[in-house]
């Protein structure tokens, strides 16, 4: 096992794209600005997105179904009951620090809750909201 540790650290360094929430937010903003040059990210729109009952999934109609009404608090998975750590970077430093992970969860959870992929603008709004807080 000891021999494996350097290998594992090496793998981590290659796969994890260390970033700050602000960098990730800036990336989505820039992408959104490509299709709408006047785009500005909005924590307010992000808050609406977070609590909007899309109703695509009966069990998880909105983001807040699992993440709770307050991203600075934890939540729990509505089906499995597993505890979910807070989404807000202020409460949980791991959040929005790895672009690949952020993309994976947007892809998976937007599919689940909205029934489609989220746009770059929605992602930027969402991150603005969880960074600002309620």
């Amino acid at each position: 096992m000891k021999a494996l540790i350097p290998v594992l650290i090496g793998l981590f360094a290659v796969t994890a794209q260390a970033a700050t929430p602000n960098e990730i937010l800036a990336g989505y903003r820039a992408e959104a600005a490509k299709s709408n040059p006047r785009y500005q990210s909005s924590a307010e729109l992000g808050a609406q997105l977070y609590t909007h009952p899309f109703g695509v999934s009966a069990k998880m109609p909105s983001c807040s179904s699992c993440h709770s009404d307050d991203p600075a608090r934890g939540g729990s998975h509505v089906v499995t009951g597993k505890a979910i750590q807070p989404l807000a970077p202020a409460a949980n430093a791991e959040r929005f620090s790895d672009l690949a992970k952020v993309e994976k969860w947007f892809r998976r959870n937007c599919g689940e809750v909205l029934g489609r992929e989220c746009s770059a603008a929605e992602k930027a709004d969402f991150i603005s909201f969880v960074m600002r807080g309620r």
Partner: protein
């Protein structure tokens, strides 16, 4: 040799078996994705809780995973399946039940072994808001994340300690 001496080895075998029943630590060799993928939405379940054939069926239907789309890229899926199959439980020990009706995914909470272990749990506890699903091991087995399922670690919903 007196009776105590003769019984001592038997007693240690008994202790070893008793310890094994509540020790469900993950076997070595789990691919990193086992925790980060499977363990993101539910406990990274001990492979021993389902038979190899049932794990293969679970991994063949990840796009419809108990109501969620939990699809993985092919190399990750293969690595996790290999780990689960290699460390799977013995069908003889688990008993019938894990394999559900045709077309339905197997459930590790439906094996005869799981039901026997939990037959004293009242129905209201399963339905409790803190539990939600019988697959939420950590709701009562407070050390489940580290693979320990000792009886003295059980806290029932509402804070009651488990007593026989």
């Amino acid at each position: 040799m007196n009776a105590t001496h003769m019984l001592a080895p038997l007693f240690s075998i008994f202790l070893a078996c008793a310890a094994q029943a509540d020790d469900l630590r993950l076997p070595a060799g789990a691919p990193p994705a086992f925790q980060s993928e499977c363990g993101a939405c539910h406990l990274a379940f001990p492979p021993r809780l389902l038979a190899a054939e049932d794990w293969r069926r679970v991994m063949a239907g990840l796009d419809r995973h108990y109501g969620d789309n939990a699809s993985l890229d092919a190399p990750t899926r293969r690595a996790i399946e290999a780990y689960l199959v290699e460390n799977a439980g013995k069908p003889r020990k688990l008993g019938p039940g894990g394999t559900a009706a045709p077309g339905e995914a197997p459930r590790l909470t439906a094996t005869a072994w799981f039901k026997r272990k939990h037959h004293e749990v009242p129905p209201a506890s399963w339905r409790h808001a803190e539990v939600r699903s019988p697959a939420n091991c950590a709701a009562c087995h407070k050390q489940a994340a580290s693979g320990s399922y000792r009886e003295r670690e059980i806290v029932m919903p509402g804070g009651r300690r488990w007593q026989d």
